[in-house]
């Protein structure tokens, strides 16, 4: 039987299907992995109400558990406390910036992930996914996504 710590690290390293550089540990949505003699309980908290990736993440967790030889498990969604982009780890923020997505900060502090210039122009509050806004850098002209602070 695989230990809970191993399971936690396996599940925690599952990546977000829409932002594949972030693991669900980076995102802060994996709340708990517990096990009893007979079953494993995984608890997650959804990000945005409208995030279509949550279902996929649940499927990925189930698949990872089966690959680890766990047959009996349940995945529970806990709504409270509500997820916040503040839960994204420092590591996650760095990975987002390297991937070309400005991490969640107050709007005045957003910098272009390409040239680091500040004060980009917001083109749309709603970007390529529900969690991102579309910005354009006034210095290098690069359009980029900003992970909304939430």
């Amino acid at each position: 039987m695989v230990s809970v710590a191993e399971l936690r690290s396996t599940i925690g390293s599952i990546v977000d299907p829409e932002i594949p550089v972030l693991t669900i540990d980076d995102l802060g949505i994996l709340r708990k992995v517990e096990s009893s003699d007979t079953t494993v309980l995984v608890t997650i908290t959804p990000t945005y109400s409208g995030c279509p990736a949550m279902r996929q993440i649940e499927d990925d967790i189930a698949a990872a558990l089966r690959r680890a030889g766990v047959e009996e498990f349940s995945i529970e969604t806990v709504q409270s406390p509500a997820w916040s982009s503040d839960w994204i780890s420092e590591d996650g923020r760095r990975k987002l910036a390297e991937f070309g997505i400005a991490p969640p900060t107050p709007l005045g502090e957003v910098v272009c992930p390409r040239c680091q210039a500040g004060h980009p122009e917001m083109r749309s509050r709603f970007g390529s996914t529900a969690c991102k806004a579309l910005m354009v850098c006034g210095s290098c002209g690069e359009p980029f996504d900003h992970f909304k602070r939430f």
């Binding site: 908290t45 959804p46 945005y48 109400s49 409208g50 995030c51 279509p52 806990v78 709504q79 409270s80 406390p81 509500a82 997820w83 916040s84 083109r123 749309s124 509050r125 709603f126 970007g127 390529s128 529900a130 579309l134 909304k148 939430f150």
Partner: protein, 246 residues
């Protein structure tokens, strides 16, 4: 006339525990509005607006799903989100009349969204303090989303209302047409809702109509003619192929 919030015999709201009724009613608001907003996908005036309206729809749909799921847990009779969304009739829906109104032109859609967003901000702030932790969590998240929605809708109301003669006319037409459905929505937060709406309407050069007529009944299952058609489109596949999955 049926007063706002009363439950006459033979309606959806009879016999449902108030706490459950509240979850389902707010779920219905969000599901129905999500369906309306989804009708814009591929039809919006600009690509960015298309994406924005689609994202608003996704948020509202996500809120509805969470509320229905929680309602099913509280009810304890094994109903899931699909049972609430797909297998209830028009008279069992308790959504506000405002959200079922047709999209009309873009001005109608953003004015409808704006009137609803002002209400949703007040509602979620309120429910965020609920002693039901699941509801408080759903509300806490929805409150932050409602801020984004409100920024979008209020921004467009001002731009359209204070735009050209034509855009102003369309925006005022939308306010005039939709105002009669705001009584049941503003009721719990009358003063705060009115103040939040007025400040933006004033900036937009728009005004609330003088006609005091208000139509209510949505919360107890008496709907305008539009809801049945919306549900027909929403529910037909599940009704034609019961239990289908994909």
């Amino acid at each position: 006339m049926t007063g706002v919030g009363q439950a006459p015999q033979g309606t959806a709201a009879v016999g449902i525990e108030p706490r459950l009724q509240e979850l389902i009613a707010h779920g219905d608001d969000n599901l129905v509005l999500a369906q309306r907003l989804g009708e814009w996908i591929s039809n919006a005036p600009e690509l960015e607006i298309d994406i924005a309206l689609g994202n608003l729809a996704l948020d509202h749909l996500g809120v509805a799903r969470a509320l229905y799921t929680h309602a099913g847990e509280i009810e304890g009779q094994g109903r899931d989100e699909d049972d609430f969304a797909m297998r209830r009739t028009e008279r069992e829906f308790m959504n506000l009349l405002l959200v079922e109104q047709p999209n009309g032109d873009f001005a109608h859609t953003v004015v409808r969204q704006f009137l609803f967003d002002v209400y949703q901000r007040l509602l979620w702030a309120d429910l965020g303090r609920s002693d039901d932790p699941t509801l408080a969590g759903i509300a806490g998240r929805a409150a932050r989303e409602a801020e984004y929605h409100h920024e979008f809708s209020a921004g467009w109301v001002v731009r359209i209302g204070d735009g050209t003669e034509e855009s102003h006319r369309r925006a005022q037409d939308a306010v005039d047409a939709l105002w009669r459905y705001t009584g049941e929505l503003s009721e719990p937060y009358a003063g705060a809702w009115r103040a939040g709406v007025e400040v933006v309407l004033t900036e937009a050069g728009l005004r609330a109509p003088d006609d005091p007529y208000q139509r209510g009944g949505g919360r107890v299952g008496f709907h305008t003619e539009h809801l049945g058609h919306l549900l027909a489109e929403l529910q037909w596949m599940d009704r034609a192929y019961p239990g289908l999955t994909w």
